[in-house]
């Protein structure tokens, strides 16, 4: 039994290979892009709005509201990255209802890739907001003694992001697979429903943590110079 879809290898040439994770991810990308393309093909700006458009508007504006609540005042700047994180993880979790489907987020490679993206995106957004030196200065604040701890924090939280998502998703799929062999009728359905819930929660946690990291990186200087502003929440 495969722990992750990485172990389903369809084609390999040296270290280059085509495994189940990548194929599933492409399928999800295709489905999401095509769905978005189809729905946004005829967007109504006046008159009656279609149900699909309304649903997408609710999702997009909901994500924007969440980003704003975290403390990022211009959510549209971060919507592409954070929204895609949420939608990808959520879609990957939702598709667990498809029999034989193994979520790409159940692969540590995928979650590590996503955590890596967050790890790179946080300083990039911070530098864009505060400038290169301004962002680097955040590592030696409040005192330079904190520099190693800040660096450790950056690495450890990235690792935690990857392992948390992987553990949850993989365990969910694994439990269902095991239960199917033991009690094949009703109980796996309940667990699948629970897995759906867990997946959505994990998608929310992953994207909201990423938003919090970005917020911490971008608004730190403001809190220092404007004491009235609320400090950004620390994870």
């Amino acid at each position: 039994m495969n722990l992750t879809s990485d172990q389903q290898i369809f084609w390999q040439y040296g270290f280059v290979k085509l495994n189940g994770t990548m194929v599933t991810t492409w399928a999800l990308m295709l489905a999401m892009s095509l769905g978005a393309k189809l729905i946004t093909r005829k967007l109504a700006t006046d008159g009656e709005v279609s149900r699909w458009q309304a649903a997408l508007e609710i999702i997009v504006t909901g994500i924007g509201e969440q980003i704003k609540e975290v403390g990022l005042s211009h959510p549209e700047k971060y919507l592409g990255f954070l929204g895609t994180l949420f939608l990808f993880v959520a879609t990957a979790s939702l598709c667990t209802v498809i029999p034989g489907y193994m979520p790409p987020t159940g692969s540590l490679s995928t979650t590590a890739a996503l955590a890596l993206c967050v790890f790179i995106a946080v300083p990039l957004f911070g530098m864009r907001q505060l400038g290169f030196l301004g962002y680097l200065r955040t590592y030696v604040e409040p005192t330079p003694i904190m520099l190693p701890f800040n660096i450790i924090s950056e690495i450890s939280r990235t690792l935690a992001l990857a392992v948390r998502l992987f553990g949850n998703m993989m365990s969910g799929a694994m439990i269902i697979a095991i239960l199917l062999t033991i009690t094949p009728y009703l109980f796996p359905i309940v667990m699948t429903a629970l897995g759906l819930l867990t997946g959505m929660v994990q998608a929310y946690i992953f994207s909201i943590l990423a938003a919090v990291y970005i917020a911490a990186a971008t608004v730190v200087r403001k809190t220092k110079h404007s004491p009235k502003a609320e400090p950004a929440p620390k994870p």
Binding site: F15, N19, M32, A36, L43, E57, F88, F166
Partner: protein, 272 residues
């Protein structure tokens, strides 16, 4: 090994591609649509506000005009009411005056008619009564009656009051014409002598007398001298009766004619 680094890199790239795809096909179109709708709604709201303010303005203008119109209407109505009342009062007064005049004319006409009718009835009644009386008395009259009449005449001469006596004496002395004794029948000489004697005794003088016969007196004797007259005749009784009956008739006419607006003096029918 749970982590395959090639897969990690590939998934990271996949994720970045997905970010680009979703930006291209999802976020931008949706946000643009929302922005466009928000702009449209904002412009519609602004337009609605403008229209609302215009409507409010028109509403205020209309209300002020309506108020002015109501006031004007009220004033005109009040004026028209006053004029109508005045005109109505004037018409009522005119009608009352006309009715009064008409009533007065009718009253007068009625009175005149009543008067004429009364006169006609009186005349007719008198004529009839007198005709009957005359006929009855004429049938009854005889020489003995004449004698009795002469006696009554003589007695009345004796009962005459002093004023009448003086008046008649003055008339006898003033007139050169002889006094006239008028009777319905020819008086016998004996009675003429009796009368002459009684006259001479009464007035203490010798009176020049002439005896005339006047059948219209029916019965009785009448003495006329210098425009003064004294006598006792059935005709004079009848005349007195007619006068009384005329007065009764006039009284009845007064009650019959009910004057409404003013009392009109009813001329009293005079006896002939």
């Amino acid at each position: 090994m749970l982590i395959d680094w090639f897969t990690v890199v590939a998934q990271a790239l996949n994720f970045l591609v997905l970010v680009w795809l979703l930006k291209r096909f999802l976020y931008h179109p949706i946000l643009n649509a929302i922005d466009a709708r928000e702009k449209r709604i904002a412009s519609e709201l602004a337009d609605a506000d403008l229209k609302k303010s215009e409507a409010q303005k028109e509403h205020d203008e209309f209300q002020s005009k309506n108020k002015a119109f109501d006031e004007q209407r009220g004033a005109l109505l009040s004026k028209a009411n006053d004029e109508a009342k005045a005109e109505g009062q004037r018409l009522v007064d005119e009608a009352r005056k006309a009715a009064d005049a008409l009533s007065e004319r009718r009253q007068e006409a009625l009175i005149a008619e009543t008067h004429d009718l009364n006169q006609a009835i009186c005349r007719r009644t008198q004529d009839e009564v007198f005709a009957i009386a005359r006929k009855a008395l004429a049938d009854l009259s005889t020489a003995s009656l004449e004698e009795r009449l002469a006696e009554v005449f003589v007695r009345r001469l004796g009962e005459m009051d002093n004023n009448t006596k003086k008046t008649l004496t003055a008339a006898l002395t003033a007139s050169s014409d002889p006094a006239v004794v008028r009777s319905a029948f020819d008086l016998p000489a004996e009675q003429q002598a009796t009368i002459k004697k009684a006259l001479n005794d009464t007035f203490a003088t010798t009176i020049g007398l002439r005896f005339d016969t006047a059948p219209e007196q029916i019965a009785g004797i009448e003495f006329t001298a210098g425009g003064q007259k004294v006598g006792w005749t059935i005709a004079s009784y009848l005349a007195s009766l007619r006068k009384e009956s005329d007065e009764d008739l006039n009284q009845q006419t007064k009650f019959a004619a009910t004057p409404q607006t003013k009392t009109v003096a009813i001329p009293v029918a005079k006896s002939s």
